[in-house]
């Protein structure tokens, strides 16, 4: 889920993609299709199933792994997970590659019928899951989750995961996607700055706005997000507020495209409150900046609160000054909210195995290794992020930001929620990004925001060409 930044390199690649855009290039893409098409590979590698090899992997078959090179980098794959697989199957060749543009790089291969076995489908240019599933490209992971876990043969893999992980990758009843990283979302700040200034973390909305006043008086921008490429960080905040006011069903209705889901009073109130924050406590210029530019301002002590997920600390580690100490607070709830301690947290960072690849069993075994305690611990140590493997962080010295995230998570108890419309209906995601900027930077009010979103949701519901999902 982490955002890839607009570096010169990605920019050049995007321009290359722009070259792809010309009409004839679309034809070339389709040319791949007519070549490959639907036929399943004749021979998918398969070995003998036994206690040591519950998924029946052919130990001699090569395995191709493609990693999204974003916030988590690729080191965890090359240094932790691939060696684990290799240790189990020493004869297996692992072909590793990493990219920042998953869709641009891999789409033609899926269309052509030669997909890689294992894919980390992430970043802003990930391939649409609905389309992949509709097309039968994703391996059903039921067998993996039912297999005995690496560490304890008496336990199934699914029993070792944080509750909700399997569901988060389930589409219309079947688990197709493994969401590996457990992410806590909230408002991030520098513990050091708050300590130096004597500010305390607010618990209620009134306290929150009071603190923002104090921060503003101190000459620091109280609240910021990057409008140019990260408005979805802010819409997550608005919808979290709405769920706290009206309960998590608010988000469920939005996901299910229920009638009037966006015009619910809770959504309206949340939009109103955040529009006020935008008008009073934000810097207009931030609409034109990207994630890293606004983050840099926070690292320099010019911005107090920044909404994001728990990958932030690791992603920023190179530019954060010594002793900055990231900490997170839950999105504050309106006074009198039904779920004041609620928290947006979910298993994210999706991985899948290609159903039409040469070695789907190897891909599933690779996942099983990722989900071992060794695999998870290695990831946590490298990336300072929690994984979907329950309790894997025990015994590891956690960074300040991660300690804070797990404390917030503990405090939320069962009040943890999330939405899924953003990956189900990308048109809705695009509209919400635009609407969020318009709301937060004062071009539209809360009513216009809700009506606009409802109109888009209704249009998607009425559009028969879009595959629908429910939860």
């Amino acid at each position: 889920m982490s955002d890839n930044d607009l570096t010169r390199r990605t920019l050049l690649r995007r321009t290359a993609a722009a070259g792809l855009m010309a009409t004839p290039a679309m034809g070339l893409l389709s040319a791949c299709v007519t070549g490959g098409g639907e036929d399943e590979p004749a021979n998918q590698a398969e070995g003998e199933k036994n206690a040591e090899n519950p998924l029946g992997v052919d130990g001699n078959a090569p395995l191709e792994v493609v990693i999204f090179n974003g916030g988590y980098g690729e080191k965890y794959a090359t240094d932790v997970h691939e060696p684990l697989y290799k240790a189990k199957f020493p004869n297996a060749q692992i072909k590793h590659s990493a990219t920042q543009e998953i869709a641009t790089t891999l789409q033609p291969r899926f269309a052509g019928g030669t997909p890689p076995d294992f894919v980390n489908n992430s970043g802003t240019k990930y391939m649409d899951f609905g389309t992949l599933i509709q097309d039968g490209q994703l391996q059903d992971l039921t067998e993996l989750f039912a297999a005995p876990s690496v560490d304890d043969a008496a336990k199934k893999v699914s029993d070792t995961l944080v509750a909700g992980t399997v569901e988060s990758g389930t589409y219309n009843g079947k688990p197709y996607v493994l969401n590996y990283v457990f992410t806590v979302y909230g408002l991030w700040y520098s513990e050091k700055l708050f300590k130096d200034k004597g500010w305390t973390v607010p618990a209620t909305w009134t306290d929150f706005t009071k603190l923002l006043d104090t921060i503003k008086a101190a000459g620091i921008t109280p609240y910021a997000y990057a409008g140019k490429n990260a408005p979805y960080y802010q819409y997550l905040v608005i919808l979290t507020s709405a769920a706290k006011i009206g309960g998590p069903d608010i988000l469920k209705n939005i996901d299910n495209l229920a009638d009037g889901a966006w015009t619910a009073p809770a959504v309206k109130t949340a939009a109103q409150q955040w529009a006020e924050i935008g008008a009073k406590y934000m810097d207009k210029a931030d609409e034109g900046l990207i994630h890293t530019e606004v983050q840099l301002k926070q690292n320099q002590g010019k911005v107090a609160f920044y909404p994001s997920g728990s990958w932030l600390e690791a992603e920023q580690s190179a530019s954060t000054p010594e002793g900055f100490n990231y900490a997170v607070m839950p999105v504050p709830a309106a006074d009198g909210a039904t779920l004041p301690t609620g928290l947006y947290a979910t298993a994210g960072e999706p991985y899948f195995v290609s159903a039409k690849g040469a070695n789907p069993r190897g891909g599933m075994e690779y996942m099983r290794q990722m989900l071992s305690s060794k695999g998870a611990k290695g990831f946590i140590e490298l990336n300072k992020s929690l994984t979907a493997v329950a309790g894997a962080e025990e015994g590891i010295q956690l960074s300040p930001g991660l300690t804070s995230a797990s404390a917030v998570l503990k405090a939320a108890g069962p009040g943890v929620f999330s939405y899924r419309f953003d990956s189900w209906y990308k048109e809705l995601d695009t509209e919400l990004r635009t609407a969020t900027n318009a709301l937060m930077f004062g071009r539209e009010n809360a009513d216009q925001f809700c009506e606009r979103m409802q109109k888009k949701a209704d249009a998607i519901k009425a559009d028969s060409s879009i595959t629908k999902f429910t939860r």
Binding site: L11, A18, M26, G27, K426
Partner: protein, 302 residues
């Protein structure tokens, strides 16, 4: 050379024509077919006739993009050609006559190189460059000056009323250099004695420009107009790299290329994106044909 003429010609043409058919004509044909399907990027889609086009004509975003192309189509060629003409004139005949030969203003050789430089830069680099030029806070290249004299920073790309014009400015900035060179070449073809005769008759620079240079440069201008018009149907790369939320704020800078990209690579609607591509193709062709016909006129005999 009569003997074996055809084998010779065919031998030379076979390779380029084959390459052209395989890599240009065939993909075009396929894109036209794809526009009639609901292909989603993986296995082949179903044939759905003109449904994509019906959808397209009801799509607000498409019309908005079209409207932006309308503005671009007026502003980009006009501004670019005016500036380029002025600069080319100054570089070639603006300096007046020296020992009977018309010359450019002082240092014109240096200026020529400077003007052409933006043309050499890749569009992607231009995007990065103008990110810092247009940056909306006090650390932007323009806004650091603006704030220094005590004014509010200008939201070049975050003000919906201003964003498209900021994009047009970048496009003009990039294009001008090329047309300065093109027009210079055109002007150097105009016999010097015409200018001298005009000067002996006491013509001012202004009337020399309008009565001598412009009419004799008409063919070149026509080419420039068509080229710039076609460029006005693109603008994708700059919009993609520079604008807020890719085409924002509030869709105020989106162009058809941007929407094709979004529909194909974000929504996986390749069929629909192809329909947009086909629409764009016909728009461009129509524009080129129309403007060549409208601007046709007798070339001046010399």
């Amino acid at each position: 050379m009569r003997h074996g003429k055809y084998p010779f010609v065919i031998g030379f043409l076979a390779a380029p024509v084959t390459i052209y058919v395989v890599f240009v004509i065939a993909p075009y044909a396929q894109a036209f077919y794809m526009a009639l399907t609901n292909w989603r990027g993986l296995s082949p889609g179903q044939f759905i006739g003109l449904e994509n086009f019906t959808r397209l004509f009801q799509d607000d975003v498409f019309w908005k993009a079209l409207q932006h192309h309308g503005i671009l189509l007026l502003a980009l060629p006009l501004v670019t050609i005016i500036i380029a003409l002025f600069l080319a004139f100054m570089l070639n005949v603006g300096g007046g006559s020296k020992q009977g030969i018309m010359t450019g203003v002082w240092g014109s050789k240096f200026y020529r190189v400077v003007f052409f430089l933006p043309q050499v830069l890749a569009v992607a680099i231009l995007g990065v460059l103008f990110q810092s030029v247009y940056r909306p806070d006090g650390s932007g290249m323009i806004n650091s000056l603006v704030t220094k004299i005590g004014l509010e920073p200008i939201g070049f790309l975050i003000n919906p009323d201003l964003a498209l014009w900021s994009i047009i400015a970048v496009l003009v900035w990039q294009a001008v250099g090329f047309y300065v060179v093109l027009f210079s070449a055109g002007m150097s073809n105009i016999p010097k004695d015409i200018y001298e005769a005009a000067m002996l008759d006491g013509a001012t620079r202004m009337s020399m420009f309008f009565r001598v240079t412009l009419p004799l440069l008409w063919d070149t201008l026509q080419v420039a107009w068509v080229y710039l018009g076609i460029a006005a149907f693109d603008a994708f790369a700059i919009v993609q790299t520079l604008t807020v939320d890719q085409g924002g704020p509030d869709g105020s800078t989106t162009v058809i290329g941007m929407e094709i990209y979004r529909n194909a690579f974000t929504y996986s609607k390749y069929g629909y994106a192809s329909a947009m591509g086909v629409a764009l193709f016909f728009l461009t062709i129509t524009f080129a044909a129309l403007s060549l016909r409208v601007s046709r006129r007798e070339s001046v005999e010399m």
